[in-house]
């Protein structure tokens, strides 16, 4: 008898356990199709996997990347991103997003598909170790000059102070140097033309692999002039030189 009651309680508890999950959303929620921006979530396990790369193996794999991203992680074309000293987690996430199709690129998707999770971590570890010191030997496109000197002050204000009236945070709060957020790349040595393309892609929603819509929310509020000013300033290497928000 005791045993039967035990089984009954067990069955009831199992049923309750399984059914409780279904009621969480509530029945009155009209749900649009679920859109998932990226399969990557920064759990401890993912961070450990993405940080576990072997830079020596990465060195061998990265020889495939030389033609576009440069031998030292600095590209000769301003529309291709520089990868030298890029955070490991950033490279790993972007490769995973290319692999899963969350970020689209006819060039990068097949390449990412040929890499395993460990390969991605290895390549990420390799680029993470590359120095950003100037090298007269290679033909890096970075830095490019500003097209308009006024852009420096405009971008400086946004990078250092943001715009509170529009709820725009300062770029440096996430992209450095004063603050950092997991998965946000440093922009100190990034190419301007590439940055402009990405800001525009975020603004229009063409690129939508940012977790919790951070960059899409910000980019859509920027004016055309601000987009150009920011991309050019970072592309000219002014992003981390702490341009004072002066009234000039």
């Amino acid at each position: 008898m005791k045993r039967q009651i035990g089984f009954a309680v067990l069955t009831l508890a199992t049923f309750l356990c399984l059914s409780a999950g279904a009621d969480v959303m509530g029945s009155d929620v009209a749900e649009p199709p679920v859109r998932i921006p990226s399969n990557v979530a920064w759990t401890a396990r993912t961070i450990a996997l993405a940080s576990s790369g072997n830079a020596l193996r990465g060195l061998l794999i990265a020889r495939r990347c030389d033609r576009c991203h440069g031998r030292e992680g600095f590209s000769s074309s301003p529309s291709v991103p520089n990868l030298a000293a890029m955070d490991r987690l950033v490279v790993w996430k972007q490769l995973d997003d290319f692999r899963s199709g969350k970020r689209s690129s006819p060039v990068m998707q097949p390449i990412a598909n040929s890499l395993s999770l460990e390969d991605s971590a290895d390549v990420a570890a390799y680029y993470w170790m590359m120095p950003i010191s100037p090298d007269p030997q290679d033909d890096r496109a970075f830095p490019q000059p500003l097209s308009d000197p006024k852009h420096e002050a405009l971008a400086g204000r946004l990078i250092n102070a943001g715009d509170g009236s529009r709820g725009l945070p300062p770029c440096q709060a996430c992209h450095g140097p004063i603050g950092s957020v997991t998965g946000a790349p440093s922009l100190a040595t990034q190419n301007g033309t590439y940055l402009l393309e990405q800001i525009e892609a975020f603004a229009s929603g063409r690129r939508a692999n940012d977790i919790n819509m951070r960059m899409r929310s910000i980019a859509r509020q920027l004016t055309e002039e601000e987009k150009h000013a920011l991309a050019e300033s970072y592309g000219a290497g002014l992003g981390e030189s702490s341009v004072a928000p002066s009234g000039k």
Binding site: K2, I5, G6, F7, V9, L10, A13, L16, C17, L18, S19, A20, G21, A22, D23, V24, M25, D28, V29, A30, E31, P32, P33, V34, R35, I36, P37, S38, N39, A41, W42, T43, A161, G162, D163, G164, R166, G167, L168, P169, P170, Q172, A173, C174, I178, G179, V181, I211, N212, M213, R214, S217, I218, R220, Q221
Partner: protein, 167 residues
Amino acid sequence: MALVSITLICTWLTVRFPFEVESGIEHLLIGPNRVNPQTLHLHGEFVESNLGPVEDSGGGVTVRMIAEQYLFVPQCVVVPTGVPIRLRMTSADVVHKPTISETGEELKVVPGYVVESHLQFERAGEYQMPCREFCGPGHYTMRSRLLAVPVEQFRRLSREARMGCAK
């Protein structure tokens, strides 16, 4: 005996898979108002297609938002006047405190939990909602806006337009 074993199994499951599995067991033990801040975008109530205002069957409106360093997402939400509004919010990283300047309403948003606030706007207009809890170097610009419009106007707006009022 059975109860003890169930308790043990459930405890083991919670300890073994903390946040990894969003199963019924987890919700039974910790309740529906707990979420994993790291996986908000993957499943559950705060996936990006579920954010923003949604009309409930009871005539009210539920607004779901994420507070994260250093933004509220969606950044601007259109809400109807004269209708009870249920604001459900969670944080993706640290503690934030959105405060509706005009009414003094405060919400302390803690990662891992869903906070709910019941609001009703009688006057149409723009309500600023800045963050009032220091959350990092971008804290001073962190703000969202609630735009209260007459309920008929609200019903005519598309889903995108209800979240697209950011300047």
